[in-house]
Structures are given as C-alpha cells and as structure tokens.
C-alpha cells in the first residue's frame, strides 16, 4: 500500500518537477552565456499562460490534430510513471519494461508526427519527416545500449536491472561506460537538444520538433510542451536509474525515501548542468551530419556489447 502511495507521489513529482527542470537548464545555460535568464519558474509561467489562452485551430484540422496532444501527453506521462525515481520496487514498474517504455515514447512521437502532417503546411511535413527519420536511426543505438545493461542483469525489467546494479560489488565496467555514452548521445537526439535540434529556435532550416507543433496553440500547445519537458526528465531519470542508481530506496521507510528523493534530485540536476554545458559548448550539427552522429552512437553501444563479451564474460 505504502509503495503504491510512493508510486503516485513519484509520478506526481516527475510531472510537477519537469517544467522546473527545464527552467533550470535554461537558467544554467543563460548563466554560462553571461545572461541572467528568466528564472527556473519561467516554464511554469508559460504553461499557465498557455492553459488559460484560447485555442486557435486551422479550419480543416481533423480529429487527429485535436486528440494528438492528449495522446502525446498521456503516453509520455504513462512512460514516466513507470520509471522508478526514488523507490526501486514500485508496483507500476511491472507494466512496462524498458522496451515497452521506448515503445510508449514511440507512440507519442507517432501522434506528434501525424499532427504535424494534419494541417498540410510544408513545415509540419518537414518536421514529421525529419523527426521520424532521425528517431528511426536513433532507435538501434538506444536499444543496443539498453541491451548491454540488460545482458549483465539478465532482465529488461527496470526494477531488476536497478537491483542488479545495487547488489553487485563495485567494479569497473568498460561496457557500461560505452553504453552510458551511447545513451547520452541518443538522449540528446531524442529530446531534440543541441547538437541535433534546438528547442529554442524557430528557424526553418534547423528545427525538427518545433516544426511539428508549430500550428498548436493554447492548452494543446501547453500539453505538447509539457510532454516534452516530462520526456527530458524521464530520460535523465532513466539514465540515473540504469547507470548510477546508488542511494535509491529499497524499502519504504521514511528516512531512506527522503534520502533517495534528495539524491535523485541531485543526480538529475547534475545531468542537467552537464546538458547546459554541452549545449553551450557545442554548435548545432548540419542536418545531414546527424545520421553520422547517430550511427556513431550505435557503434559505441555495439563496442559496449563487444567489450562486455570480451572483457566481462570471457573471464
């Protein structure tokens, strides 16, 4: 019972903290670039503003366009609530293992792309085409890096994978390092961050994700943007879970929960600072360099797999 409560608290936290975290990244970036920034609360203010605004919709938008924000949002939130953030063994984590989690995100992307095509503007189609193409190229790398971890844990279930990492003695795992790098590269691409896409630009030559949601307004736009923020937090929580789960609560007593909550926030914030650093230090890639970037991620993940077999199983 208590773990169910923790589960709901955790999902709620993921939902509520996601805009704060997006604001945190933006602020970090601003500071790194000698600007003041709008503050961590700005995404929340934006959302509130959008929620209270009227929805303007193209005259021939179909029901796909109207339902897509809800599908995108619920699929992303569903995926997020499956990922353990504080407590290792949550009841909902049984719903979907890592592969099903990726599929839930694919569902949300599918509807996003369809919504992009629905209005029939050149921008929407462009965004949909690019998003689906790059997602397809990123998928093998993502899967391969998940494979590396689940090979040693003999599981794709998040709870078991975390338990495996928590219970095995500390050792250097080159394969995990490779998998982590590949995962970080894919996570940048999946979340539409620099160097793949720039979430703050509306320049037609460079945008991918923004091009798809260009026609949205009001609460629909708010849902879409909120979903994107939740996705960012979801990915960072996933990376934390898979690669550095130390400190997560194994049982539901209050002290370890509080400790796990604090550690989770710290770890995620650390990742976000790294993201801000990376985004400040890197330039956006040319569009047709992205495939090379993603195939690089795949090669690294495959190297992880090979070094797992060569160095860690062979002995």
């Amino acid at each position: 019972m208590r773990s169910a409560l923790v589960q709901f608290f955790q999902a709620g936290m993921l939902l509520l903290l996601a805009p704060l975290l997006a604001g945190f990244v933006a602020t970090c970036r601003a500071r790194l670039q000698n600007r003041r920034g709008a503050g961590v609360m700005q995404p929340w203010r934006n959302l509130r503003k959008l929620f209270s605004k009227e929805v303007v919709m193209a005259s021939h938008a179909s029901w796909i366009f109207r339902t897509a924000p809800y599908v995108v949002f619920t699929a992303t939130v569903m995926a997020a609530s499956v990922v353990p953030a504080m407590l290792v063994d949550t009841p909902l984590s049984l719903i979907a293992d890592v592969i099903a989690l990726v599929a839930l995100l694919a569902l949300s992307r599918f509807f996003q792309a369809l919504a992009g095509m629905d209005i029939g503007t050149a921008f929407g189609g462009m965004g949909a085409s690019r998003e689906m193409t790059f997602a397809a190229l990123g998928e093998p790398a993502m899967l391969m890096s998940i494979f590396v971890i689940s090979l040693s844990a003999h599981s794709t279930n998040l709870t078991s994978m975390i338990n495996h990492t928590l219970n095995s003695p500390f050792a250097l795992h080159p394969s995990l390092a490779f998998a982590l790098v590949a995962m970080l590269l894919v996570a940048l691409a999946e979340n539409g961050r620099i160097p793949i896409d720039n979430p703050t630009t509306h320049l037609e030559l460079t945008m991918i994700h923004e091009a798809m949601i260009l026609e949205y307004s009001g609460r629909h736009l708010a849902l879409m943007e909120w979903a994107a923020m939740v996705k960012l937090l979801l990915f960072s929580t996933l990376i934390v879970d898979l690669f550095m789960p130390w400190g997560m609560a194994v049982n539901t007593d209050a002290i370890s929960l509080v400790q796990a909550f604090g550690l989770w926030l710290l770890k995620v914030a650390g990742l976000m600072i790294a993201l801000a650093l990376a985004e400040t230090g890197m330039a956006k890639l040319r569009l047709f360099d992205v495939p090379e970037y993603l195939s690089g991620a795949f090669v690294i993940a495959f190297l992880g797999l090979l070094s797992f077999y060569m160095l860690e199983v062979g002995a």
Binding site: V56, H60, Y70, T74, F110, E139
Partner: protein, 672 residues
C-alpha cells in the same frame, strides 16, 4: 472424438470453399452470384476459425480421405500447427469475405473471381491440413495457379500480364524446390506420408540439402529478399480483397510450409547451427531491405507489398532465433521464439489484411493507387481513416496494439543471446535485434508518411476531394480485423496459452505456466523479474490520464476558434506546397543513398529567357537492387544460353550427325 470434430470442421470449410467455386455454374445474375459466393466464403472463414479454435483447444486427429490415386490415398491430419494456421486463415478470410460483398459491387467480370478466389482459399486450407507430400503439393499448386489467375484478373493491361507471368514463373520455381526437398526426404524413408518422414533418419548432409531446398522454395513463396522479385509486382495488380488474402495469408502458408518441413518433418533435434544463422540473416536482411524499399514507394499497394517483405523478415528473425536456441539446447527459450514468430504471423495477417482492405477502400472511392494525388481523405472517409490508423499503429509496433506484443516477444528472445554458444552468435544476435529495431522504427516513419499523405492535409487532386465513404459491408469487413488487432494487443496472456500446443508438439515444452504465472493482466514470458508487459493496464492508465487531462482542461465556455492555418505567418498555402510521399522520404533517400542508388533528374525549362524559369520538374526513380543485380543478370544469362542453343540448332544435318556421334563416344567412354 473431439479431435475429429476439428478436422470435420476443417473439411466442411474445404467443402464450402469448393461449393463457392461452383456458384458460377448456376448462371444467376451478378448480384446473386456475388452474394452467394461471398456468403459461402464467410461460412468457410467461420468454419476455418472454429476448426482452428477447437483444434487448438481439444487437439487434433488424422483421417484418410477416399480421394486421390489408388496407390496414393490422401492423408489429412489436424495438429496444433495446422489448427493455428487454420485459425489465421479463417480470421482473415471471414472479414475479407464480408468486405468483398461490398468491394465487388459493380464488378462486371465476377465469374473469374467467383471461381478462383474460393479455389485459392481451398488450396490454402488443403495445404494446412494435408498429411502427405502428395496432397501437400497438390494443394500447393492449386493455390499457386488459382492465385495466378487472380493476379492476372485485370489482364487487359500489359503490365498486369507481365506481373502475373513473373509470379507464375517464380511460384513454379518455388514449387520445384519444395518438391526437391520432399524428394530428399522421400529418398530417406521411402514414403510420401508425413508420419513416416517424421520417424525417418536423414544424414546431416542430406538434411542440410533438404533444409536449403525447402528454405529457398518456401522463401521464394514468402518473398524473402532476394527472392522477393514477384511480390511487389503481383500484389498491387490483384483486386484489393485478393491482395489482402495473398499478403495476409498466402505468405503465411509459405511460413507454415517451412515450419512443417523443417521443424516438424526434420525435427528440432536435427538443426545445425548455421541453419538458424542463415534464417536469422535472411530475416534481418528482408526486414531492413523491405522497409527501406517500402519507404520509397508512391503506389499505396506496392508500398504495402514491400512491407509484407519486411514482416516476413521479422517472422524469420524470430524463427531463426528459435532455431539457434533449439540447436544449443534451450527448448524453453526456443519455444518463446517460436511463439513470437507465430504471434507475429497472425498479427501480420490481421493488420496487413486490414491495410490492403483500407487501400482497396481508397482505391474504390478515388480510383487511384498513387499516393501523390491523395490527401485529406480523413474528412471524406472518417471510418476508413480510423480503421486504417489502427492498422498503421499495429504494423508500426506501437502499444497497445498487437504488432508490439510480437516484436516485444522477439526482443525478449534476442536477449537470451548469452545462452548461445560461440562468440560470433552471441554478438550477431543482438545485432539482428538492432536491425529489427531499425526496421520497426522505419516502419513507423513509413506509416506516418502513408497516413499523413493519404488521409491528412489537403486533397491534392479532384478525385481525392470528391471521395466518399465506402459502404457498410466494407466498413464491417475492416472493423473486424481492427478489433482483433486491439484484442490481440491487450490480451496476449489469453491467446498465448492457446498457441502452446505448437511448441509442445515441436519441442516438448510448454510456456503456458510461465506466461500467465502472474494472472491474465501481466505478460511474463520468462519470469516476472526478467520482463513483464501489460498493455491492458497501460491502456487503462492512459485512458484515465487522458480523461482527467481532458476534464481539467475543458472548462465550459472555452471553445476552439477555427481560423486559417498559421504556417509561420504565411497563410497562403496550396495543396501542392505540402510534403508529399517523395519529399517525406527524401532524408532517408539521402542517408541510405548507397543502398538506394536512386536516379534523380531535375529538369528546368527556360523557354523565354535564360533567367526566367518556366517549369521545374523533379523525377526520382528508386529501383529494386535485387532486380538490377540478380534478376536481370540471370535473365540475360538464360537468354544467352537460349540464343546459343538456338544458334547450334541451325547448323543443318551434318552438325546433328556430329552431335549424335559425340554423344555415343561420350556415353561409351563414361559407361564402359
């Protein structure tokens, strides 16, 4: 006794199919004829489904038919494998028959369809229940030849005749190879009966020969790359209800044949490691090539045909994994792979049948197959669009639909790679899983393209803007597989135990206990700590979340204002400014340029002045590499030989006498 019930039902299905083929004898009006043969086919479909279900639940039986040649009586038998494929055939035939009732309205040449469509079905039903090589081949040829006539249905068109001829040629090559593999097995045991073949001992070399012959034969019929040349030609030209059956079920019958010969007759104990590796490689290759080529098609039905190649590849990936695991002595895990392959088989039958029916509905209502002149059909054909979307999501392996369940099972099987022996395999298996992931994600991209270009946006032609919704028969025909897709997607735990008879028969193990060890909600194929998936809970959760979000965000009085599209401040959009199928796949054309070798031509017309452009046209053609690098060289080689022989024949009497003399000398030298 109950086992015979299922076999009786299957025979009844065969008889109704035969009756349906005989309806044109009555010489009634086309209207009555259509209703009669569609009704009989509906009955056939229902009977096949029932027989499959009873066969899976209650087990099978065998029977000797009072038909056939005196020394070669026809054996029929019902076991878990045939029951499963009967269920697959029935569950697609049933909706397709309903759909045909509406689709064939206004069709003038009904007689050809009324004869050959039931015969085609009869062939497939017969293959599945046959229990000796003779019966098998008889029905196999019946299936091939009757489907030839269906492909050649619109024979007025030169292109269609050519497609049908290629199909006939390759179907017969396949038939010959399969016959060869039966011949090898016959040589080992001296009987055509499957029951004797099962017991026979085949030496490893001959077993490999039989495996290769069967693999290439059934592979040709299933459309495995590079033996797929006929498939994208034949499927688009057949009437859509027939394409649904051909793509949905006929390819599966080839998979059935492969499982029957390799798994059942030769037995899982005889597998050599490279058999599984070969199947795995062929599967990965087909999956990726199929979807890459599909992405570049503009003809809706041709695109779907290439996706059939992809999905056959996915099924083969699962089968190959299962064969590897069986060889290395992990029957439980091999059973998981086999179940995954079978699950994807029935899934593909359902969603591909639905996709072809949807394409048929679009064709019926707009008269077009080319995607570039469609668009905005969701407003004119809301039902078709919604049902087509279900199929698109299923084939793109998105939860909560069925395609995801089978791909998930395949990934779970691939994760068992560490259980395999050998360094190469342990790394190649994850690689093929990555190829599967790539194929799945590219399929999603492809179906965003299909749905987006055909149903969303603005109409690109007058035909598309004048489209109308199809009649109720067709809607019902499409709705049934859509419902099946959802049910198979959210209730795999109820369905997998039904299929459990197949691994029990092949591998003597049962998955039923571990699959639903945690109740009907949770699919846990190996162990709950290993992996679990529950589409029903996920769907429920999403519905609740979506409901709450909708309820919170829709306070009364805030309605949606409709206006022109914003389009970055440029509302003067035109239908031709939309992304179309060619532009959608442009990034991929560039990324995989080395594989596509597309021929691109840009023509700029400047008639008035060298600076004034009048007209720009861009033509891109992406050919099938297999055709260019395999089929055409083979074709040329055969022509060359033929020319040579023709030339040698024109030499007159002396040359012929010389040939005779040389032959005599050769025979004397060799045999004495």
């Amino acid at each position: 006794m109950s086992g015979f019930l299922s076999l009786d039902l299957a025979l009844a299905a065969c008889i109704t199919a035969l009756l349906a083929a005989l309806t044109p004898i009555l010489r009634t009006s086309t209207h009555v004829l259509r209703s009669m043969f569609c009704l009989l086919l509906v009955a056939t479909g229902l009977l096949a489904m029932l027989s499959g279900l009873t066969g899976l639940i209650a087990g099978g039986g065998a029977m000797l038919l009072p038909l056939g040649l005196p020394w070669l009586p026809m054996h029929v038998r019902m076991d878990a494998l045939s029951a499963f494929f009967l269920l697959t055939i029935g569950s697609l035939l049933f909706p397709v028959a309903i759909y045909s009732q509406g689709y064939l309205r206004g069709e003038s040449q009904l007689t050809v369809l009324a004869i050959f469509m039931p015969l085609f079905v009869l062939g497939m039903l017969g293959i599945v229940i046959s229990d000796d090589a003779f019966t098998f081949m008889l029905f196999w040829e019946l299936m091939s030849i009757s489907s030839y006539f269906l492909v050649a249905f619109k024979h007025e068109n030169q292109e269609n005749r050519k497609a049908a001829f290629i199909y006939l040629l390759m179907a017969h090559m396949a038939g010959l190879l399969i016959l060869g593999s039966f011949a090898v097995l016959y040589a080992a045991c001296g009987s055509f009966e499957f029951s004797v073949m099962r017991e026979a001992f085949v030496s490893p070399v001959w077993a490999s020969a039989a495996f290769l012959l069967a693999g290439f034969g059934f592979g040709t019929k299933a459309g495995v790359v590079p033996l797929h040349g006929w498939l994208p030609e034949a499927h688009p030209v057949a009437p859509s209800n027939v394409s649904a059956l051909m793509s949905g079920v006929m390819l599966k019958v080839a998979i059935f044949g492969f499982i029957r010969v390799v798994w059942d007759l030769m037995g899982a104990g005889d597998f050599q490691w490279w058999w599984g590796a070969l199947v795995l490689a062929a599967g990965s290759c087909s999956a990726v090539t199929g979807v890459l080529l599909a992405l570049q098609q503009h003809d809706l039905k041709r695109l779907l045909a290439y996706h059939s190649i992809e999905n056959i590849g996915i099924i083969l990936i699962a089968l190959g994994l299962a064969m590897l695991l069986a060889h290395y002595g992990h029957p439980m895990l091999a059973a998981l792979g086999l179940i995954a392959a079978l699950y994807h088989t029935i899934n593909h039958a359902l969603f591909k049948g639905l996709l072809f029916m949807g394409a048929g509905a679009v064709l019926h209502s707009t008269g077009m197959r080319g995607m570039e002149s469609m668009g905005g059909l969701i407003h004119r054909m809301p039902w078709t669009a919604a049902l087509f979307l279900v199929a698109c999501m299923s084939i793109s392996a998105l939860p909560p639909f069925n395609g995801f369940v089978s791909e998930w099972l395949i990934f779970q099987t691939a994760l068992m790679a560490p259980q395999l022996g050998g360094a190469l395999l342990t790394a190649i298996v994850p690689f093929s899983a990555a190829m599967l992931a790539l194929a799945g994600a590219l399929a999603a991209a492809c179906f965003v393209k299909v749905f987006g270009v055909v149903f969303l946006g603005h109409a690109r032609s007058k035909e598309a803007s004048d489209a109308h919704e199809v009649n109720d028969w067709m809607k019902v025909g499409m709705a049934i597989p859509a419902v099946f897709c959802l049910l198979l997607g959210i209730l795999p735990v109820l369905f997998i135990p039904l299929m459990d008879g197949v691994p029990q028969m092949m591998l003597q193990v049962s998955l039923a206990d571990s699959v639903h060890a945690h109740g009907w909600l949770w699919l846990t194929p190996v162990d709950v700590s290993h992996s679990s998936y529950s589409a029903s809970v996920a769907l429920l959760g999403m519905l609740m979340l979506g409901g709450v979000a909708f309820w919170l965000l829709h306070p009364k009085g805030t309605n949606v204002r409709r206006s022109v599209a914003w389009s970055c401040g440029n509302p003067h959009t035109h239908a031709r400014m939309q992304y179309n199928a060619t532009s959608f796949s442009q990034p991929l054309r560039r990324i995989f340029a080395g594989i596509y070798r597309a021929e691109e031509h840009v023509r700029i017309e400047r008639n008035r002045h060298k600076l004034l452009t009048d007209h720009v046209s861009y033509v891109v053609h992406v050919g099938d590499m297999a055709v260019k690098y395999i089929y055409q060289p083979v074709d040329r080689f055969i022509l060359f030989i033929a020319k040579f022989i023709q030339h040698e024949h024109e030499r007159g009497l002396h040359a012929y006498l010389a040939y005779t003399l040389l032959t005599i000398i050769f025979l004397l030298a060799v045999y004495i």
